[in-house]
């Protein structure tokens, strides 16, 4: 569904994306992981057409994304930070997007609006919402049009455990509908039950792209975090980052 061919992006001296080639298919839940500044968000933004790569091509359903913007109808995007116009009401955001996409009321997927109980705050202006509530609004927007591709940038950051669980369940439901889902996250335990493929990025390069079963077989570990740690140590990658991630988990506290 998405094919990325040799894309490069440089912000001044920093090579953010270094010759990335990848291909994602229907039914996959791809976890994009890597340290801060490894190029995950830039890759996602390139697929959405927000960042223009210096070279290389991206296809969505065999359509070159630079040709026109219609391919974005197929994508639901949840940004890392959602900020909306201060005085816009929550309900207005949904009506506006519905008008822009021109989709009939009965075709909308309102599960998240109901589960997050957003109807209650439809009349509230955006500026009064807390960070977590805005995150819920962003999630509801991404799933609203029942898109074939979902791109979620750190979806569970800032959500309370209950809401985070609701979102994960929703992702599982969509996974069963044979959609393509791209997730970036630093919370590996969240990804454990969802993901089918892992793409590990570092310094703008794809270090590996493997499916979950292969990864588990290769390493003999069932947990995502440990499996990745094992790979990193075995090969020549910089394993410092993953070691630190696991270190935090091993202090005996309950998360």
């Amino acid at each position: 569904m998405i094919r990325i061919e040799n894309i490069n992006k440089r912000f001044r001296k920093l090579q953010v994306l270094d010759n990335i080639t990848a291909s994602f298919a229907k039914g996959q839940v791809v976890s994009l992981i890597g340290p801060n500044g490894s190029g995950k968000t830039t890759l996602i933004k390139s697929i959405l057409g927000m960042v223009r790569p210096d070279s290389g091509k991206i296809y969505v359903d065999e359509q070159l994304i630079t040709s026109d913007h219609s391919y974005r109808k197929k994508i639901g995007y949840m940004p890392q930070i959602g900020r909306y116009p201060d005085n816009m009401k929550v309900g207005q955001l949904f009506t506006m997007l519905q008008n822009i996409r021109n989709i009939a009321e009965e075709k909308l997927d309102k599960t998240l609006i109901e589960k997050f109980e957003l109807k209650k705050i439809f009349e509230k202006p955006m500026r009064t919402l807390s960070g977590g509530t805005r995150q819920k609004v962003s999630a509801a927007v991404a799933f609203l049009f029942d898109p074939a591709i979902l791109i979620l940038d750190e979806p569970t950051a800032g959500l309370d455990p209950l809401s985070s669980e609701i979102l994960k369940e929703k992702i599982l439901v969509e996974k069963k509908k044979n959609k393509l889902i791209l997730i970036t996250s630093h919370i590996l335990s969240d990804l454990d039950e969802l993901t089918t493929h892992i793409m590990y990025m570092q310094e703008g390069k794809v270090q590996f792209f493997k499916d979950m079963e292969a990864l588990q077989e290769e390493t003999g570990e069932l947990r995502l975090g440990k499996a990745i740690a094992r790979i990193m140590r075995g090969e020549q990658f910089n394993s410092e980052w993953i070691d630190k991630m696991l270190e935090i988990k091993n202090d005996g506290k309950i998360y």
Partner: protein
């Protein structure tokens, strides 16, 4: 296009800044007309305020609005919508709200107290300047990389057009005072929308008789139909060129 700009407009019209701006203009205009016995004297004072305050507020307000809506613009660009349409909708929303503030704050008092040729010239100039500086501010914000630079750039442009430019023109006039400069000053006035507006209104007032030979030449030119078309045309160019440059830059920009 109205699908998006409608909501941008709704958001801005509820912001406290735009309400305060409208009230400020209204109070100033009313008090000018109340304080001065002669309505043309009041117009002259009002003219000076319009020429200084309007460009400044348009520039600063637009720049701040652009940066505050940055994440929202990002989200919109992930929707099936072209970049041109997004920026044009933002422009429409901002300029319509600034124009309505001007119309309510200055337009109504002028129409009440001085509904003559000078009054209409003032309204025309005020509306043009609002659009010109909104357009310039969009260009400045799209070009600048962050909020501080954007506002700095906008302020610098205001200093240039409102203060520095006049100094430069005076310098030229003094250095070359031995030559006939009437045609040149006519040209120079076109290069600064604030000056153009000032001359256009001044010549509708009686005081133009005090300006000597140059004044007579100006009155001959600006008083005629060609002069009005010339002013309108130059103002239109001042609106369209920065806006076109902004759209061109925005289409290629990384968000």
């Amino acid at each position: 296009m109205m699908k998006l700009s409608k909501y941008v407009l709704y958001d801005i019209l509820r912001s406290k800044i735009i309400i305060a701006y409208t009230l400020f203009l209204f109070v100033v205009s009313i008090s000018m007309f109340q304080m001065e016995e002669n309505s043309s004297k009041a117009m002259l004072s009002l003219l000076n305020i319009v020429l200084i305050v309007l460009p400044l507020v348009s520039l600063i307000f637009t720049t701040i609005h652009y940066y505050n809506s940055y994440e929202f613009i990002e989200l919109m660009s992930s929707q099936p919508m072209s970049r041109t349409r997004i920026l044009m909708s933002e422009f429409a929303g901002v300029s319509i709200s600034l124009l309505s503030a001007f119309f309510l704050g200055v337009g109504i008092p002028v129409l009440l107290f001085s509904p003559d040729a000078t009054g209409f010239a003032l309204l025309f100039t005020g509306m043009s300047l609002t659009l010109v500086f909104t357009s310039i501010a969009f260009f400045a914000s799209v070009v600048a990389r962050d909020k501080a630079r954007g506002i700095g750039f906008a302020l610098l442009l205001w200093f240039y057009f409102a203060l520095i430019y006049d100094g430069l023109v005076l310098l030229i006039l003094f250095s070359f005072s031995d030559y006939p400069l009437e045609k040149l000053t006519l040209l120079l006035s076109a290069l600064n929308p604030i000056d153009l507006g000032r001359i256009f209104i001044m010549l509708k007032m009686d005081i133009s008789a005090l300006m000597g030979y140059t004044g007579a030449l100006y009155k001959d030119f600006f008083g005629s139909g060609t002069g009005i078309i010339f002013t309108a045309g130059i103002m239109l160019l001042w609106i369209l060129i920065p806006l076109w440059l902004a759209v061109r830059k925005f289409r290629k920009k990384d968000l």
